[in-house]
Symmetry: C2
Subunit: 236 residues, 2 copies
């Protein structure tokens, strides 16, 4: 068979066909779809082409494949809302606004018992601590309270965070391995409220994040946002 070039690749045509039929209800959750051999015959393509179409839909969680058995329509993706939280500077700039930051603290400390435990390091281990307030068009929108494992980011104290945020610096020196996070709503301590120029009666949206790199805890950060002028948003 001669390969006839078309605008749309054959494997894409097959993917579209399968998606359309699933959407239309021809095959419901758990139903088997036609085998590769059958689809290859129907579309007059080689089995490898069908294989690619079906394999990609499988990696997209649309289908399940069981070797020796068949290909089935996957369960509806579990009802979860995925929230993507970008770095603050990136986000502000993406909105076309001006980002500025104010460094309130940048010191070296020895790990207290509590910090040592959180970082899973020895008591007294050298850590860095920075407190930075981020502004969008000169309005404070985030207090970033960060603890950094000195082993993974030795030059942390020498950075100019007006140019490169801690986030950006850490991403460069310590490739991300994993993240734990939590988001909560709390009333701010006076210190935080002052830095954000808000009342301590205003709720804050707080993101805690702990990142791992090279099998160690790289950084533990708490980000405070004034509830009245900051929210996590997105769509997909």
């Amino acid at each position: 068979m001669i390969n006839v070039p078309t605008a749309i690749p054959a494997f894409q045509t097959i993917k579209d066909f399968l998606l359309r039929e699933i959407q239309a209800g021809t095959w419901k959750e758990g139903d088997a779809i036609p085998s590769e051999a059958v689809l290859a015959q129907q579309f007059k393509v080689s089995r490898m082409t069908v294989n690619r179409a079906v394999r990609e839909l499988t990696s997209e969680q649309i289908l399940n494949r069981i070797q020796g058995s068949g290909t089935y329509v996957a369960q509806q993706k579990y009802q979860a809302t995925l929230v993507a939280i970008k770095s603050i500077a990136e986000e502000v700039r993406a909105r076309g606004h001006a980002h500025r930051s104010e460094l309130h603290e940048l010191i070296e400390v020895e790990a207290s018992e509590s910090l040592a435990q959180q970082f899973q390091v020895e008591l007294g281990q050298k850590l860095f601590h920075s407190v930075i307030v981020h502004f969008e068009n000169d309005v404070a929108i985030q207090v970033e309270d960060r603890w950094v494992n000195s082993i993974l980011a030795q030059d942390y104290l020498a950075q100019d965070f007006a140019i490169k945020t801690p986030n950006e610096y850490l991403m460069a020196v310590a490739p991300l391995q994993g993240v734990d996070y939590s988001i909560e709503a709390v009333m701010p301590p006076k210190l935080i409220a002052d830095m954000l120029h808000i009342s301590s009666k205003e709720a804050c949206l707080v993101l805690h994040r702990k990142t791992r790199s090279q099998n160690q805890i790289a950084t533990i950060v708490t980000m405070w946002h004034p509830g009245s002028r900051y929210q996590f948003t997105g769509s997909f």
Copy 2:
């Protein structure tokens, strides 16, 4: 060449190799990696096998490919924290706790001007409104205030939400097309505070979500959580 079966497929071996070299810094962001032809020769496999390895890494955002030019190491994935928010019942059960819900309202209404606008429907269009309080081990953790497009979920009023949450019902009748969401920290109105059995001085973590299905707005929901006993958490 005879195909020698091994535990690890050849394309996977090549993926692993490329990932290892990238991690080791052999090629940095923006650098070109060897061409398919070169890799095929090195690994003594056909170009198609190399192609699969490289194509998959590209779909995983590890590499960028430019036709006619080459394959390059992609930029470090932008520093985003992905938060997955599950349905409340699912989440509570996953923790091994008891989930229970209380129905506070379940009515049919005509869309007000504001609602009609949010749903992008005609003024007076039939909508459903439900208010449900969710409990974890008899402690209120969520007020779910939901508006539903009646066209997409005609049997909404007839559901027993003690058995199947609105979320679960809607997922079944209206396949999800897209989601807009926002998360914020606010002080609760008295009505909400009462339903959660908290003080109206306690910050609430609020998730707004608007879902689309069949090219219409399917449902708009606001979920209120007491800041003192609820947070979004996760890891990856």
